[in-house]
């Protein structure tokens, strides 16, 4: 039952093929037996209690499609009464006294939260190796990374440890692990989903989204996650459509843009041929393919690695050892308290980005770095704007390679290159997806779809149509 989609499980629960408690127990057993290290916290008791509530509602016939579906929640979302660590020693002892808006919405939908998933510390990383709780293994090959930062969520869905998971994407943190683990991941338009209660990495880029087995499941979950939140001033007062309505629309005549910059050197040949084969499939389905150009995408990495560190250097200042979280022992004075709490509480990559950000925001450097990077963001957005005058959707690879070996990339800058194709969508605030599109040496390859603002329905429709024609998304690793 752990390979089933939301749609199938909902039918099973409704038909009483098994109870929600049985289903939840099954997942909990799998989690406890798993050595993927996908979870930081397993919420056994809470999950079973929620399952019981769901069973009661099901027996009364008072259900939605998500009632009783067990999911895994990225440990970046605050969950009342449950540890919320963001993968950091800094918050190892932090039990949130409040629920993130997303957590609240998922609770209200009568979902069952199995636990909180492992992640790169404060969402900084592309391999999930930057977690205080240790690396996560890729379910397709335990020697490989699952991608990051939502690596635990991706591994959990791919490894059959949850039906779906939540993720967050600041520079590719939903799409890249979804790609490397062979699942479907959607980063919506910036502002589509409330950020309230989602521990901030880079506020102007962070966006939550669903990580699922199929595009149809993603549409169902997005229906619950999306919407304006008065607690988040950057969430949009944009109407939330039913994302499942247009899934079956024909994509005949769809115009696909392939940015030449996404197929340049650095892209693995076999990954490239899988992507081209997927594009071919779309052509067979009646789509038209055009080559387009995003000339400023080359500056996405430098712009991102200014904006994100600047924002994080400020966002993480509240973690000072004063009110909650890690505090060093026997501080001599206030400065010593700050210095040692933060030096001991944060991991290397987090400290690196805080340092870069604090430097770039310093007096005399602000214009040269932060302001310049913001200007580059505008240029990147303008590139997309022009392209979307000619095409309906942009396609390309999510990641230049398939999952690499755990421990193999030691140089931070090489690691940053893993996000080369995903960063632009965050900088421009556009919605983007990763969908399974093939395998290279038994490791999944993800196809990236980037849409215009608020075109989530269209992206899900395109992805769903592809999944009706292909079965990459239904392949499962051996352990499933």
């Amino acid at each position: 039952m752990h390979t089933k989609t939301i749609v199938k499980l909902a039918q099973n629960l409704k038909d009483k093929d098994f109870s929600c408690v049985e289903l939840t127990q099954h997942y909990l057993n799998r989690i406890n037996q798993s050595d993927l290290n996908a979870f930081i916290t397993v919420a056994d008791e809470l999950a079973l209690a929620q399952a019981q509530v769901a069973d009661d509602k099901i027996s009364l016939g008072n259900v939605s499609i998500l009632t009783g579906i067990p999911y895994a929640h990225k440990d970046i979302f605050c969950t009342k009464g449950v540890k919320t660590s963001a993968g950091s020693k800094m918050l190892d002892t932090f039990i949130s006294p409040y629920d993130a808006t997303i957590s609240q919405k998922l609770n209200q939908a009568d979902l069952v939260m199995l636990g909180k998933t492992n992640m790169d510390e404060f969402a900084m990383g592309s391999s999930n190796e930057n977690s205080f709780y240790g690396a996560v293994k890729n379910p397709w090959n335990h020697l490989k990374i699952p991608g990051g930062s939502s690596g635990g969520s991706a591994a959990s869905v791919a490894g059959g440890l949850s039906c779906f998971a939540t993720g967050t994407d600041t520079g590719g943190s939903i799409r890249q692990p979804a790609s490397l683990c062979g699942i479907t991941g959607l980063k919506p338009t910036y502002g589509r989903i409330s950020r309230y209660g989602m521990i901030a990495y880079a506020s102007s880029l962070d966006q939550a989204g669903p990580m699922t087995k199929t595009a149809q499941d993603a549409a169902i979950v997005l229906n619950v996650m999306a919407g304006f939140d008065e607690k988040d001033s950057t969430s949009a007062e944009q109407k939330v459509p039913d994302y499942t309505t247009n899934l079956n629309d024909s994509i005949k005549g769809l115009i696909i843009g392939l940015p030449k910059e996404f197929f340049s050197s650095g892209l693995d040949d076999e990954v490239a041929s899988n992507i081209m084969a997927a594009v071919k499939e779309f052509e067979v389905m009646g789509a038209i393919v055009k080559e387009v150009s995003l000339p400023n995408s080359a500056y996405a990495i430098p712009a991102y690695y200014i904006v994100a560190p600047c924002e994080c250097s400020s966002n993480l200042s509240r973690l000072d050892g004063v009110r909650y979280g890690y505090r060093t022992k026997d501080a001599k004075n206030l400065e010593d308290l700050y210095l040692r709490s933060r030096s001991e509480g944060f991991g290397e990559e987090v400290k690196r980005r805080i340092m870069i950000g604090a430097y770039a925001l310093s007096a005399g450097y602000y214009d040269a770095y932060y302001l310049k990077a913001q200007k580059v963001r505008h240029l990147i957005s303008d590139d997309f704007k022009k392209v979307f005058e000619q095409v309906d959707v942009i396609m390309g690879p999510v990641s230049p390679t398939t999952a690499f070996d755990l421990g193999s990339v030691k140089d931070p800058v090489s690691m940053y290159l893993a996000d080369i194709y995903t960063l632009s969508a965050n900088l421009a605030g556009l919605p983007a997806m990763s969908i399974p599109a093939g395998f290279v040496q038994n490791l999944p390859v993800g196809l990236q779809l980037i849409g215009n603002y608020w075109s989530e329905s269209k992206l899900l429709n395109i992805a769903h149509q592809f999944q009706l024609q292909t079965d990459w998304h239904s392949k499962t690793p051996q352990e499933c």
Partner: protein, 476 residues
């Protein structure tokens, strides 16, 4: 050498909104520590600020009241620094795009009027409080104040003496209360002043190096702290020394200022636009609406007092100098439509003297405006004399009783029965024949003696004016 003092003020006015600037927590003063700090004020992971529109409206109100330029698109920035009472590790403030731009204020000192430029006024959140004397070895933190909206009003370095600085500060203090954006309570820290002070040789154009004085919580201390600092700077310069740009803390107990931090030690605040908040857009309609709701300002009120109530310039100035004083005076007029001048005299005379003596704010006056106006009515309708009224006032100050009740109890009511007065007058004329003869032979002064005799017999309750007239009539 002759020195010229140059002063600019940074005034922090807490805006009197019900909830905080970025959270729904209450702003009430004096509550149990940390009882009014919600998850947003505590800076928990994941929380986000949401701008309180009321704070924006009040800032706009200030801007239109001083005819300043309003930046209809203004931006919140993060000012980054670490301090235990700053929960997020940054203060949300406004740097490049403050809500209120340039404006000006007219001040008057020793009959000289001058203009003080306002550079800007921006919105920001207040920090919490560190309490160092509650526990032996630890500092306690109270975050009730964290997130209370502040309007920081920055002046140009246009003031040339401590006295001018005080007049300017009082002017702002009065204004913010008039337009009801700040309660002006300096003891509770609702209205705080920092002074930038420098000196330069008279005639020199460029400014001297300045020191910023902090921790000034009364107008008296503002004047003292500035004069102290001017003296310190003069001593240094006259001995050939150099002024260091620094922040200095004023200690009112020791009457000294001491260095807090020099420019080199100052934080690099790493300002950048807060990505959690959208730029504030102020529509023409909102601006106009707030302009329309602006109440009568001190200058307008003063003009009206002179033109419509016939008060003198000085009286009108004093009565409008503080909002509560003006409110009290106007409340009296509501009950006592008669003599505004008499009301003004009593408010500025007996009432102010007593309030000063007992250090009571006029808002807490034991004699309400209504009660005082009743007393004044009793002078107007000749029930009591002005002299007796002062006794009644004293009795009212110490009791809850009304003027009428006291007049009754003390038997202070003036005699109004003309027949009774006439009888006494005739009795005095009969008993003082020699004095009557003197008067009739041209000694006008002797009349006073006769009046005195009559007043004695009436126990002071006769109206001296009436007695006078009656006496003259009888003797003519």
């Amino acid at each position: 050498m002759e020195w010229e003092t140059v002063i600019g003020l940074e005034i922090h006015a807490q805006l009197n909104t019900k909830s905080k600037i970025f959270s729904a927590a209450s702003t009430q003063y004096g509550k149990k520590p940390n009882s009014q700090a919600c998850v947003v004020d505590l800076g928990l992971p994941g929380v986000l600020p949401v701008l309180n529109v009321e704070a924006v409206n009040k800032a706009i109100k200030f801007g239109v009241a001083i005819n300043a330029h309003i930046n209809q698109r203004n931006v919140f920035d993060r000012k980054n620094y670490f301090y235990p009472d700053l929960p997020k590790g940054y203060q949300i403030s406004q740097m490049d795009w403050p809500i209120v731009g340039e404006g000006k204020i007219e001040i008057t000192l020793d009959n000289q009027t001058k203009i003080v430029g306002i550079t800007r006024a921006h919105l920001e959140e207040d920090a919490g409080k560190s309490i160092h004397d509650m526990f032996d070895d630890n500092t306690a933190i109270d975050l009730n104040r964290a997130g209370i909206p502040l309007l920081e009003i920055v002046s140009e370095p246009d003031m040339r003496s401590a006295k001018e600085a005080v007049v300017y500060a009082k002017k702002i203090h009065t204004l913010v209360q008039y337009i009801d954006i700040c309660d002006g309570n300096m003891q509770e820290g609702s209205f705080r002043c920092d002074a930038n002070v420098s000196i330069r040789p008279k005639g020199q154009k460029e400014l001297g190096t300045r020191a910023e004085l902090k921790n000034i919580n009364s107008f008296k201390f503002l004047e003292r702290a500035i004069n102290l600092e001017v003296g310190r700077q003069q001593d240094i310069l006259e001995e050939g020394g150099k002024i260091v740009q620094e922040t200095r803390l004023y200690d009112s107990m020791k009457h000294e200022t001491r260095s807090m931090r020099s420019k080199e030690e100052a934080n690099d605040y790493r300002y950048f636009p807060d990505p959690d908040l959208l730029p504030v857009e102020i529509s023409d309609e909102l601006l106009e609406k707030i302009r329309q709701t602006l109440p009568e300002l001190p200058a307008q009120k003063k003009e009206r007092f002179v033109a419509e109530l016939g008060l003198g310039d000085y009286d009108a100035d004093v009565l409008t100098s503080q909002k509560p004083l003006a409110d009290y005076f106007e409340a009296m007029l509501e009950y006592h439509t008669g003599n505004a001048k008499l009301c003004a005299n009593w408010v500025m005379g007996e009432l102010s003297a007593s309030l000063n003596k007992y250090q009571i704010d006029i808002q807490n006056s034991p004699i309400t405006a209504q009660a005082l106006s009743l007393l004044i009515s009793r002078i107007g309708d000749d029930t009591i004399s002005g002299k007796a009224a002062k006794d009644v006032f004293k009795a009212m100050w110490n009791s809850e009783d009304s003027a009428d009740k006291i007049i009754q109890a003390k038997g202070l009511k003036q005699m109004t029965d003309m027949g009774e007065i006439e009888a006494i007058v005739e009795q005095v004329i009969a008993n003082n024949a020699p004095q009557v003869v003197q008067f009739k032979s041209g000694n006008d002064k002797i009349l006073g003696f006769l009046v005195g005799q009559i007043m004695k017999l009436t126990a002071g309750k006769a109206n001296p004016k009436q007695v006078n007239e009656l006496l003259r009539k009888k003797l003519s």
